[in-house]
């Protein structure tokens, strides 16, 4: 079992708990350190202020939004949310976003993890070249893909459908999943599958019965990260949908881009909160892996 726990430890990043010696020293803090703590906390608070602003705005009545100085105490109301869902038609768009994000995450996880495994284990000639190509694909500007995707989808008559958007999102989520999972799998000892195969497992069997369960935490967080990537995508959604499959980011772009008045602020804030809250919850759940995941993409280039 010891190899197993060791393998797991490899997947978990960034040591968090301070050593006992350090903790003891922290009790007799020098003034410099105290200043650092305070300034760190203040910087963090500053970064959260805009989100607090959006949160408050989303619960304000129209007349409270446009007051100077901005009110902090007001009669909270759900009017903006109701407005966003009824007049702004946010409900169906939210459903679309959920379908597309989960779909893209799932397809990319299955296809990407298998490919990531292949890259980490099989001694294919040119595995290095493939790795470099995957990394290079992260530099491809989405606009270079949007034009042909739009034309092809139009020709095939699959514009404005969930499946088209899911496929479009695979173009950037799969390479990401491949890169991340390759890292996880490289960290696992080869002996694990070798033992399984000696016991009569096929190569595929070894992958699904040994490797996948061991790397489950990593795979789950990879999935969540993929969903986040697809959840907030704007360009492809803008180009490939117009009514039936439109996502929330498109709706928000519409509200924010409406430059005539600030009248849309309440609905904009409400729609913003609806997009932000699920992602924040997911991100906090997987924060340790998230950081590593974000970093890994290029760190191991």
């Amino acid at each position: 079992m010891s190899t197993l726990t060791e393998a797991r430890r490899d997947v978990v990043p960034i040591p968090e708990t301070p050593s006992p010696a350090r903790r003891r020293r922290a009790d007799r803090r020098r003034p410099g350190e105290r200043a650092r703590i305070w300034s760190g906390a203040i910087v963090c608070a500053l970064f959260l202020l805009p989100l607090l602003w959006m949160l408050l705005t989303s619960f304000k009545q129209q007349r409270d939004i446009f007051t100077v100085p901005p009110t902090i105490f007001f009669d909270p109301t759900l009017a903006q949310y109701i407005d966003a869902f009824s007049r702004g038609d946010l409900g169906p768009k939210l459903v679309n976003t959920v379908i597309v994000a989960l779909g893209a995450g799932l397809v990319s996880l299955v296809a990407g993890a298998m490919a990531g495994y292949a890259l980490s284990r099989l001694n294919i000639r040119g595995a290095g070249v493939i790795g470099a190509l995957i990394l290079a694909s992260r530099g491809v500007p989405p606009i270079a893909l949007a034009v042909p995707m739009f034309l092809v989808a139009r020709t095939l008559g699959i514009m404005d459908t969930h499946i088209t958007l899911i496929l479009a999102y695979c173009s950037f989520v799969i390479p990401y999943v491949m890169w991340l999972t390759r890292g996880f799998f490289l960290a696992l000892p080869k002996e694990l599958e070798e033992a399984a195969m000696l016991d009569g497992c096929s190569k595929m069997g070894a992958f699904f019965r040994i490797i996948v369960p061991i790397s489950a935490p990593g795979l789950i967080s990879t999935f969540i990260f993929s969903v986040i990537l697809a959840w907030e995508e704007l360009l492809f959604a803008l180009v490939l949908t117009n009514r039936d499959a439109t996502t929330v980011p498109v709706a928000i772009a519409g509200m924010a881009g409406d430059t005539e008045t600030g009248a849309n602020w309440g609905a904009l804030a409400a729609a913003g909160m609806v997009t932000v809250i699920p992602v924040v919850i997911l991100a906090l759940v997987v924060q340790k892996w998230l950081i590593r995941g974000l970093a890994d993409g290029a760190m191991k280039g």
């Binding site: 963090c44 100077v68 990394l135 695979c170 928000i252 280039g301």
Partner: protein
């Protein structure tokens, strides 16, 4: 390997080749397909297009302003947050939130806050007797605003990587420096920075890959304006293709951007690799 290959060929390789094909031909809007080959005509037209040149310059200005600022701030904040204390885990988790806010939403939030009449920032400046700033009104200010918004979104990410990096620094080197009587600046220059150089370079590459795709924030705030002051290249190509239906020219522009991005990414990657190998 197979499913991923098939999908990637379908959604990545094929569209890219199709873009190249469109860029080399005349686009027939009647059939909505590329028609006659025109060779490099679209490319010469794209390169001669002043608005396209402007969008490249705007993108470069934004990158040159934003990336170093974000790296410096990110590492600085990581240094601040590096102190040991009980609340650090919570602060770090909260600090993570701006970076998972969808770019288009962060554009929306900031558009509200920076509003010269009703926004919080104007009110705050007013407390000190300062006049409200028209953040999106003139060319310089709107670029500053874009950089500011992008920095808000990205600095937490840089700071988190940086704090992981700072934790992994070997402490004995710092103690040795202290024993030798090095002051803060000397330690920084001859111990910290050289040790951190590979990670700074790698962080730069990740941020670069994200920043060259800048689109959502600008669409939600300035929409490229005023005039063409914040019309980054992605937005410009988008407008050419989907507002003006100039598919051939926009494809040529996309290919040009792709080539420039690839070359620069390759250069940055090899520099960061070199820095890594040096250790």
């Amino acid at each position: 390997m197979l499913p991923a290959t098939v999908l990637l060929v379908a959604v990545l390789a094929y569209p890219l080749l199709y873009t190249v094909q469109i860029s080399l031909s005349e686009f027939d809007l009647a059939t909505f397909a590329p028609a006659d080959w025109t060779g490099l005509d679209n490319y010469t037209a794209a390169l001669a297009n002043e608005s396209f040149q402007n969008s490249l310059v705007v993108t470069a200005v934004y990158l040159v302003l934003a990336l170093p600022l974000q790296i410096v701030l990110g590492f600085g904040i990581a240094y601040l947050m590096n102190a040991e204390w009980r609340g650090r885990g919570v602060v770090r988790a909260l600090f993570l939130i701006p970076m998972v806010v969808a770019p288009v939403v962060s554009g929306g939030i900031w558009k509200m806050i920076l509003d010269p009449l009703w926004g919080g920032v104007s009110w705050f400046l007013g407390l000190f007797g300062l006049p409200p700033i028209d953040w999106f009104g003139d060319a310089t200010m709107s670029m500053i605003s874009i950089v500011l918004i992008d920095t808000w979104r990205s600095v937490p990410f840089v700071a988190l990587i940086a704090s992981a990096a700072l934790l992994s620094l070997p402490s004995d080197l710092f103690e040795a420096a202290k024993v030798d009587g090095a002051n803060w600046w000397q330690t920084m220059r001859s111990v910290s920075l050289p040790l951190l150089a590979p990670i700074i370079a790698a962080t730069f590459v990740v941020r670069w890959l994200g920043a060259v795709k800048m689109f959502d924030v600008i669409l939600a705030t300035t929409n490229g304006g005023p005039g063409e002051a914040t019309n980054v290249v992605n937005l410009f190509i988008y407008q050419q293709a989907f507002r003006l239906l100039k598919f051939s020219e926009s494809s040529a522009m996309a290919v040009i951007v792709l080539v420039i991005t690839m070359i620069l990414t390759f250069v940055f990657l090899s520099v960061s690799k070199k820095l890594e190998d040096r250790l």
